[in-house]
């Protein structure tokens, strides 16, 4: 059994809602409400959910870009939220983030090669000359050419910029990469290139991924285990095959059936029963009582309205939080 690289236990991140003259706290947005995830070394875990589900906040809280309210985040057995700034900084190269829009995290006046190597020098991991070597090597692995080193960010297309974002994370030789919607802004033909790159790098470098996305089809292609979030709560986790073959939670089922498939509707014979959810995702500042999904769930009963379902084992590596399934 491989050891857990990242352990997230009962993590809660609440953002205060303030109001009035003295900014009194009048309530909380429970962006992340009791989430537990364990990532083994070399694993790719996919965290999916709609907007407002708290999936990005999970990523941010793990790397301490947001403060937790309670719970713990253990990276290689070390509790990240207990570390001092200095200790955390030392550890940072080992856990890297990749964002949706790489352009906004690149300085337009810094040459791309220097931008990729910057962190190496800042962290004292390499001299300037060594950094150049390492950067070129990583650029090559990410499908960028040597002559790209001296170019500026605006000279690159969206797909290439994402390659730069990946190279920048990779050059530090991290153990864990948290990627927040890394392919969402890309065109399909480019998206496929980047998904393949993520895959290739995982194998060649033994990387562990936490992949945050709203797109189930992308997650299916990249991740071996998947967690589905709704309003800050984990609804279901299972291995990829189990989740897609045998989804248990009504929300997962609805989410799966809502993804448009590129087979013309006019042609589909076995019209799989499509669950079209009614209504919108509720306000996270004021989530429904009981099961948070009950307002949109077609099967909700009295117990769902009153009691919060426990996140429980449902056989194999399948876990769900539902009274009915």
């Amino acid at each position: 059994m491989t050891e857990a690289l990242l352990e997230v236990n009962h993590l809660k991140t609440y953002f205060p809602i303030t109001s009035g003259l003295f900014n009194r706290t009048v309530g909380h947005v429970k962006a992340v409400d009791d989430i537990s995830i364990t990532l083994k070394e070399g694993e790719a875990f996919g965290l999916v959910g709609e907007s407002g589900s708290g999936k990005s906040t999970v990523g941010k809280t793990i790397v301490r870009l947001a403060d937790k309210t309670s719970g713990e985040v253990k990276f290689k057995g070390i509790d990240l939220h207990q570390l001092s700034e200095k200790e955390l900084r030392k550890l940072r190269p080992k856990l890297q983030l990749i964002f949706q829009d790489p352009y906004s995290s690149l300085n337009p006046r810094v040459r791309v090669g220097d931008a990729i190597g910057e962190a190496l020098i800042n962290h004292g991991l390499a001299t300037k000359a060594e950094a150049r070597e390492l950067v070129l090597e990583v650029m090559d692995a990410c499908g960028l050419s040597t002559y790209h080193y001296d170019r500026f960010p605006h000279e690159f297309s969206g797909g290439q910029r994402q390659r730069i974002g990946i190279a920048r994370a990779l050059v530090l030789n991290p153990d864990l990469i948290i990627a927040d919607e890394p392919v969402s802004a890309l065109d399909v033909s480019i998206q496929a290139q980047i998904i393949n790159l993520f895959r290739k790098l995982q194998v060649s470098r033994g990387l562990t991924y936490l992949f945050i996305s709203h797109d189930l089809s992308v997650v299916e292609h990249l991740c071996t285990r998947i967690g589905v979030m709704y309003l800050g709560t984990m609804m279901e986790t299972a291995s990829r095959d189990e989740l897609f073959r045998n989804p248990l939670h009504p929300y997962t089922k609805a989410l799966l059936s809502a993804v448009p498939v590129p087979i013309p509707k006019k042609k589909r014979k076995d019209q799989k029963e499509r669950i079209v959810l009614s209504g919108d995702i509720p306000n996270p500042a004021n989530p429904p009582s009981g099961c948070k999904f009950h307002t949109r769930c077609p099967f909700a009963t009295d117990i769902c309205r009153e009691q919060l379902p426990v996140f429980r084992h449902a056989g194999g590596d399948h876990y769900i939080a539902c009274h009915l399934a």
Binding site: S51, V188, A192, N196, H214, E220, L256
Partner: protein, 327 residues
Amino acid sequence: MRNVMEIEHLSTYFYTREGAVKAVNDISFRIREGETVCIVGESGSGKSVTALSVMGLIEEPAGKIVEGQIHFDGKQLLNLSKQELRTIRGNDIAMIFQEPMSSLNPVIPIGKQIMEPLKTHQGLNKKEAKRRAIELIELVGISRPEQIAESYPHQLSGGMLQRVMIAMAISCEPKLLIADEPTTALDVTIQAQILDMLDRIKQKANMSMLLITHDLGVVAEIADYVIVMYSGKIVEEGEVVELFDNPKHPYTQGLLRSKPIIGDRQDELYSIPGQVPNPLDLKESCYFHDRCEHCLPICKTKLPQLKGMEGRQRVACWLYEEGTHHD
């Protein structure tokens, strides 16, 4: 079936310091009565500019429709004055955009904004318009319509706002609804609701629809007829089943293959190599040739024209031209 709109040899250019960008480059197509035509393409393919050209929303002098004709309902849209165009826009042709928030006025209640076109185009008085506005809000699947009519845009979610935009667009019972990426900013569960509703309303009102999207899944869900654009050109078009069953153009084939599909996992996704050419630097050639697996010598020197295949399918590719050498 009657054509609602015929577009002939439309070309729209934008002028930049570096030169002219042929955003839409000599395209022709028609939209039949009651039909949903989808234009699919990646960023920079010219799909949105096509929609804006039809609506007369190209801002001069940065951009200009340099050539072509747009026939709509017996009129030639490009010859109309601004005033004449305005009576058609919103009344006979309506449009919805990707970002509903940016098309709504933040300080006017939703209901009032829906009443506006009803008063301008249909000549309804205030009371009638209000009644109709509430009916429309109900029609697009919003519960508590009276209450919503009184709310301001910031009080509603993205999905609700897009419904409001649709309510506004269909308020004057247009013959043609143009929707530019109407569900791209929405979550999948909300997207499913909106697509369902658009389809239902379209059938009921016998309206035609021109839908612009980058998502082949959405196309499969709602289209009758599909147009694939690349670098300002139509590279392939056809009825939705024909096109998905038997895509002819290597670009269409590549697009369909590179989309990850749930339940059909591959170890490595097919991906089209390279990237779209620089629109300022298009040479006389097939614009897709340097990304194409089947590139022939002629592809590098001559632009292929659209050619009819079986049914309504047409493709612009030298592979299907008689007399071109296959291997």
